[in-house]
């Protein structure tokens, strides 16, 4: 059987094990990560029962297109003044 140890996508050079522990999943099959450095992870569940957690970060605000940001800013400033359109009637557009 091939080794299940996976190298990082960009190579495992310089990566060391900083902590190793056993955990038991709780009744809802949850486990806790100790001293997790990031809030978000991309998780791959492998067919052999392994899980790979890749740390992720939220895309910074700058990735919102400028026009969308401008539209958002104007809408928010209106909303703060109590300005918004009259309630929208969706009934003609929704299938029942």
């Amino acid at each position: 059987m091939p080794s299940a140890t996976l190298k990082g996508r960009h190579g495992a050079a310089g990566v060391t094990v900083v902590e190793q522990y056993d955990v038991a999943a709780d009744a809802k099959k949850r486990i806790s990560l100790r001293n997790a450095t990031t809030k978000y992870f991309n998780i791959k569940a492998l067919s052999n029962g392994y899980y790979i957690l890749e740390p992720r970060v939220l895309v910074p605000l700058q990735t919102l297109p400028a026009r969308v940001r401008k539209m958002l800013d104007r809408s928010v400033s209106g909303l703060k003044k109590g300005l918004a359109s009259p309630p929208v009637d969706l009934t003609p557009f929704l299938k029942h």
């Binding site: 978000y40 970060v57 539209m71 557009f93």
Partner: protein, 136 residues
């Protein structure tokens, strides 16, 4: 609980009025028709239950911090971020939801060209500064 949906002023309201008006007149093109269908469905979910699983609604902390009110993002299509997203907030009155912005922007012809990923790889770590050891 269902919410009253309102559009942010002035752009979002103008956009919705234009799109809805042309929909009723049957003057939307193929792409607009497809987009409007998703938009109307998402708005329907939003009005019924902003936490509807199909919307994958979540607060955007950066925008909340920047504007001082809680701003949420919802997807127009389940599991397809490229389908577009809505930005909304509660208010101005209780029981109201105001749609603040929409992506893709109506004026942008490059629909689907944006890099619409929710999460990205971690930025490279800064090398640890060389601190003198054992200097208590």
């Amino acid at each position: 609980m269902s919410f009253r949906l309102r559009m942010g002023v002035p752009e979002m309201e103008a956009y919705w009025n234009d799109l809805a008006g042309r929909k009723l007149q049957g003057r939307l093109d193929k792409h607009e028709e497809k987009f409007f269908k998703k938009l109307a469905k998402a708005l329907g979910f939003l009005a019924q239950n902003p936490r509807h699983p199909g919307l994958a609604s979540h607060e955007i902390d950066d925008l909340t911090r920047q504007h001082g009110i809680k701003i949420f993002q919802s997807y127009l299509e389940n599991n397809t971020p490229a389908a577009g997203r809505l930005f909304w907030a509660y208010g101005p009155e209780q029981g109201d939801i105001t749609v603040l912005a929409i992506e893709p922007h109506p004026e942008d012809q490059k629909r689907g060209a944006y890099q619409r990923i929710k999460l990205s790889a971690l930025p490279p770590r800064k090398p640890k500064s060389q601190e003198p050891k054992g200097g208590k």
